[in-house]
Point group: C2
Chain length 225, copies 2
DNA sequence: TAGATTGTTAATCGATTAACAATC
DNA sequence: TAGATTGTTAATCGATTAACAATC
């Protein structure tokens, strides 16, 4: 199946499978069937098998999937099989939450440097790191060689930061600022928009309450995944 | 078009349009065409018109869309036309970032209470609020009447928190914990998974770099949206 | 009116689901 | 071997795109 473009939803689910598998490994489980993956992930067994088929054959008919083997395969696919440095820009509240985020380690992601443009903050400690001047990001990343970066600055500064990151060799940006970034075609951006998420929930939450009050609650809605 | 289910991608884009419109209003722009919306949002004009068509007719042929009118319409659709209280569970680093998040106000979202289960934290100030005992969430929300809540606790505690929130009348949950929540069908969950986002970027970032090094850089990849 | 732009329909595209032969 | 479960193909479903008549 090499050559086919992998759908983005497939990649997103891969990360979910990986989490389920790591939990299973923690619990000492050796083997899981696609049906069992469905029970733990909420993603259908057929979808799981289809997703994996983009990358190869990983299971044994009649048996299922070896938990440690599949973990290794997915990690390799996602390039999480060796430590991946990540730049963080923005030493505010969100940056502090990220730099202390305990779950990165299990995925071999490591915040390797923190940047800000505030001269009061530059030079101060931040988690295990020291805040550096965003103006020096290219120079600093020449040593680190990170491809991934997180933007956690106010919206009005995000585009300028993105430009500097691209200049510094970053090819994947996780953007927390509520703004559309313009980047060259070889750079991927994923946006985390808390307001957008809440807006979607707001639409449903109130709709649902009304339906509920009318005794018209929907059935069989999918649980959160 | 009433009666048709609105696709989730449409709702997600609605929040993006709203942001573009608010920016335009800020800049004193009175009218925008779908083409201009495309330029600012990265979402195609056809898609924009199709999205709005689920809710009614909002534009004038030959003219475009009134910025203030459309803002009002989208706000009404998303139930952001009047203040919406939101419960926050988890008074850690992420909770601190959220409680101080400046952008909620423009969308009429307000964190109305913060909860934790740590007795050392309960009673302490947190932003403008005082941390309350999660065990009292039902009691507290009986007064607030929030339908939306944010879970910002470690993964191992998230399901228990979700159960309590549902019990307290919450119908929309924004979940930051890396775990699949099980909730009744009338409750909507949206997950923000930083690890998942970085995993997807990791896949692409390294792929792209390799392609780049080989002189096979992809063309026309979509810019971040 | 003539030009511009909408709202909607039909065509295209892509992702999900179901079913089953292959195989451990 | 018999039972279970995979990987894949074909059918279904849903979302996006393109085109255009309606209309300001």
């Amino acid at each position: 199946m090499t050559g086919t473009r992998v759908p983005t939803p497939t990649l997103e689910r891969l990360a979910i499978y990986l989490r389920v598998l790591l939990d299973a490994q923690e619990a000492g489980i050796q083997t899981l069937s696609s049906q069992e993956i469905e029970e733990h992930s909420g993603i259908s067994a057929a979808q799981f098998r289809k997703d994996l088929s983009y990358f190869g054959e990983f299971g044994k008919p009649g048996v299922g999937y070896s938990v440690p083997d599949l973990i290794q395969c997915i990690e390799r696919i996602l390039h999480l099989d060796e430590e991946q440095p990540v730049l963080l820009v923005g030493a505010g509240n969100l940056g502090a939450a990220l730099v202390n985020y305990p779950n990165f380690k299990a995925h071999r992601l490591r915040i390797a440097a923190v940047f800000d443009n505030n001269y009061v903050k530059i030079g101060r400690p931040f988690g295990d790191l020291v805040i550096e001047d965003i103006a020096r990001v290219k120079e600093v990343n020449a040593k680190i060689g990170a491809r991934l970066a997180i933007i956690a600055v106010p919206a009005h500064a995000a585009q300028e930061v993105a430009d500097m990151l691209v200049e510094a060799g970053i090819t994947g940006i996780l953007n927390f600022a509520p703004t559309v970034l313009r980047v060259p075609p070889h750079v991927h951006v994923r946006n985390v928009s808390i307001l957008q998420e809440l807006a979607v929930l707001s639409y449903h939450a109130v709709e649902q309450s009304v339906a509920y009050a009318d005794g018209q609650a929907t059935r069989g809605g999918k649980d959160g995944v």
